[in-house]
């Protein structure tokens, strides 16, 4: 696929952003390319456009599929896999947040819970430390409870809530 200068820069920028957030540069670039592309692309085209090895595209796509950020499509008379990305930014962020929560926050919560349980009968660890870990757990729990309560709200409601943010604050803050 031919990239115009702006598309080129967009993809490069996205790759850099990705690597800052712990996402493989190639994976982020593939995602950016598919996000922009007007039509589904097959692996070879992705490899050629981004100038990376075909095998890397395979691995990258697999990861994006696992994240549900990319879907496979097919065309009649062509047995290759074609890929499209989720194009709605809200949906993209939702899927990423949900994925990171499941893969990173939930295990951390579980970990902190076992810590807190163990600490109940652990006289070795100073009380201050115990409180600190408990506080951390409580914080994360509050945050995830909130996330759970809003994550399935319809987009419109969410938008309204976001726009009203400050006004609501004034009302309930007295």
């Amino acid at each position: 696929m031919r990239l115009t200068p702006v598309m080129h820069r967009y993809i490069v920028h996205w790759g850099e952003m990705g690597s800052r957030w712990g996402i493989n540069r190639s994976v982020a670039q593939i995602h950016a390319l598919l996000y922009l592309a007007p039509n589904p692309l097959h692996a070879d085209e992705i490899a050629e456009t981004l100038g990376i090895a075909r095998s890397n595209v395979s691995v990258g796509i697999k990861e994006l599929l696992a994240w549900d950020l990319v879907q496979v499509t097919h065309t009649l008379g062509d047995r290759r896999d074609f890929f499209v990305a989720q194009r709605d930014p809200w949906e993209v962020i939702r899927v990423i947040v949900e994925g990171r929560k499941r893969r990173e926050i939930d295990p951390t919560l579980a970990f902190l819970r076992t810590c807190v349980t163990e600490l109940e009968t652990d006289s070795e660890t100073p009380a201050e430390v115990r409180e600190r870990i408990a506080g951390q757990l409580e914080f994360l729990e509050t945050l995830t409870r909130w996330y759970d309560s809003i994550k399935s709200l319809p987009r419109k409601t969410l938008l309204k809530m976001m726009r009203l943010g400050q006004k609501i604050a004034k009302v309930i803050g007295e």
Copy 2:
């Protein structure tokens, strides 16, 4: 400083989490250690406790200072620097979010704005792509506007809003 098994595991876990989110493992470990430590620690003690080179601590601490996640303190009769971490998880997350926004989101916003401007007179790039980039920008702008509107609310108000999340949704959702 002597680490109990739970403290040890906590620090290791935090280091792993950090590296998943693009934060240097040692830096995350130093932060975790200071977060738990009942009293300020000096660089040598941190190096010894975590089993890393003194120089590494120096660099790590510098970064944490730049992020405002750690402060320097002193004691009479001791000219070494002692370090303490911000202990309030809410404040920790606020500082991190604010920092990443400033260093990563804001530049991305600026970048997208120049893209959109350029695209106005760019007939080479397909209209679909232009719309996609504009959509991305609008999305990020909505998100940051919301963030700006709530970031300075007092903790209490924020907590109330979070607890009310679903109820508010019902009211304004009609």
